[in-house]
């Protein structure tokens, strides 16, 4: 065997198992899903395969599907915006104000909850937010006579739960880019008379932008595809594109419609990734 051939077989031998696996479990399934989305009915039980565009047509003509898509996108915007508003300052404090061993410990504390099961965290919010739950009791204790508030099964509950799930992403990505800012840059600006606000606007935000943007994508994409969080926390307010897709497979059994809606969701995700590609590529190189 020649050297070049040996080299080729080594590469194939090392990479083929992983990529065959990914083909079987990611790329072929996505193709099958696309195929299903053009079928009149799922081809089970010897049913004839018949093609149609009616599921995509349904998306274009039935306004409730568009409303749901818009609701999912809005949810994504709200959750991402709050994560930015909370996560960026927290990351700044962590990266620039806390020093030494404390920083390491606090950083670990921030990412630790992230590693607990997402479902379990959503479940715990249902206990916290329900009427006569922990939050309600605490409010009654501080201000007796306050009308009981019921955040369970509401839109804010969904937002709170999702922010809780995804906030560590934002803190993590912002922390990584803010940490890289040279302290002497900030010192120089200050000694030249820049105000705190100017430093924030001209140095910290621009240099923290890659982290902000990466964090936003990492949050926005999964949130628009979320389904169990809105279902558990939102009740009737929790009907989103994701929950409707779930229903097609677990309750209504209209698989082709579910496949078409999933594919539309995938297109939205791909559009977002395409727009942010220059940025992701930079992050990928750095990784």
């Amino acid at each position: 065997m020649t050297e070049a051939k040996r080299r080729l077989w080594t590469i194939v031998g090392l990479t083929a198992p992983a990529y065959l696996w990914l083909t079987l479990t990611i790329f072929l399934p996505l193709s099958a899903m696309l195929f299903f989305s053009f079928l009149v009915k799922a081809p089970f039980g010897g049913r004839e395969i018949e093609f149609t565009l009616k599921h995509y047509d349904a998306f274009l003509t039935k306004s409730y599907l568009q409303v749901l898509t818009w609701r999912s996108l809005t949810l994504g915007f709200h959750v991402t915006a709050i994560c930015i508003a909370v996560g960026f300052p927290a990351a700044y404090v962590l990266a620039k104000q806390v020093r030494g061993r404390w920083r390491e410990a606090l950083f670990l504390l921030v990412v630790l909850p992230f590693w607990s099961n997402a479902l379990v965290r959503i479940f715990s919010w249902t206990i916290v937010l329900r009427p006569d739950g922990v939050l309600d009791r605490a409010a009654q204790f501080v201000l007796p006579g306050l009308p009981t508030f019921d955040l369970a099964h509401s839109y804010p509950a969904i937002v709170i739960g999702l922010v809780h799930s995804y906030l560590p992403y934002m803190i993590l990505t912002c922390y990584l880019s803010l940490q890289a800012i040279d302290d002497s840059l900030i010192e120089a600006a200050r000694s030249l008379g820049a105000s705190g606000f100017t430093i924030l606007r001209r140095i910290i935000v621009p240099l923290g932008l890659p982290g902000l943007a990466t964090g936003s994508i990492l949050i926005f994409v999964p949130v628009i595809g979320s389904f169990f969080e809105p279902r558990l926390l939102g009740g009737l307010q929790g009907i989103m594109l994701g929950t409707v897709i779930e229903d097609q497979f677990t309750a209504v059994f209209n698989w082709p419609l579910g496949a078409a809606l999933s594919f539309i969701l995938l297109l939205i995700v791909l559009a977002i990734l395409a727009v942010s590609w220059p940025l992701l590529r930079g992050v990928m190189r750095a990784a």
């Binding site: 990479t15 992983a18 909850p113 479902l119 994409v221």
Partner: protein, 262 residues
């Protein structure tokens, strides 16, 4: 100077509030596992009855064992295949390398809901079917990219010089691999394995869609328990899950600083 002092206090305050927000539900969850009331009623009365009852809850125990076995199998397969691919990427430049690395992103970036449904459609259609084997297929697919990235980061942190030196001193390729490459890669592999275990053990969405009636993993069982009406036993098992997951992360942090500065 007062402005500076306020600014100095604002920092810890922000961080403190964020941490309180992050830990509030987790603490409440854990405490409610020790509360006597079935309906999580307050005031709090300490009791360990839910912990005592857990071993008798066969459904939860079976689901937990399923989760553990699944996570172990996933760890072995994903770590092995992923390390092989990472080795190829780190040691060879070849055509299609960039494209292949790019193909690692779909499993990470596409929402799990879409991936899960795509798997369900294909597996059901082709007769692979649903069940623990189907979940294993899915979990490995989600873990592979992370393993390749984590092990790849470790491999990138040292060059090929040692391997070349060993080879030039007469070591055969397998000897080079087991005596030189593998020990150097070890911290990355351990970190990747912990990562893979946690991904599988915490995975809900894929398992949920690929679970046939009667077969479930712990997260799937928790989901149906929540929807059917809670019982504090779910709190107990959730607390245990959180402790395990966080323990794994702490181990992970010891072995790699999230991709390896060390």
């Amino acid at each position: 100077m007062t402005a500076a002092r306020i600014a100095g206090l604002a920092g810890p305050l922000v961080l403190g509030l964020v941490l309180a927000f992050l830990y509030l539900p987790i603490v409440v969850l854990a405490l409610m596992g020790f509360n006597e009331s079935v309906h999580y009623e307050l005031p709090f009365r300490f009791s360990t009855r839910w912990y005592e009852r857990l071993p008798g809850n066969e459904r939860l125990i079976t689901a937990t064992l399923n989760s553990i076995w699944l996570a172990l199998a996933n760890t072995v397969i994903a770590t092995t295949l992923g390390t092989m691919a990472a080795l190829a990427f780190a040691r060879y430049r070849f055509r299609g390398r960039t494209l292949m690395r790019l193909l690692l992103f779909p499993p990470i970036t596409i929402p799990w809901l879409i991936i899960a449904i795509a798997m369900l459609v294909l597996f059901f259609w082709t007769g692979i079917g649903r069940g623990l084997h189907a979940m294993l297929l899915g979990h490995v697919a989600l873990s592979l990219p992370y393993v390749i990235i984590v092990v790849g980061a470790r491999l990138a942190s040292f060059g090929v010089e040692l391997e070349e030196a060993a080879a030039s001193l007469g070591a055969r390729p397998l000897q080079v691999f087991f005596r030189v490459s593998l020990p150097m890669m070890a911290p990355g592999i351990v970190a990747a394995a912990l990562f893979a275990f946690a991904i599988s053990f915490d995975q809900f969405v894929i398992s949920y869609f690929l679970a046939p009636p009667g077969v479930s993993t712990l997260p799937v069982e928790i989901y149906s328990a929540i929807r059917k009406g809670f019982t504090p036993e779910v709190n107990v098992i959730s607390t245990v899950v959180i402790v395990i997951s966080m323990g794994i992360l702490l181990l992970f942090a010891r072995f790699s600083r999230f991709g390896g500065e060390r």
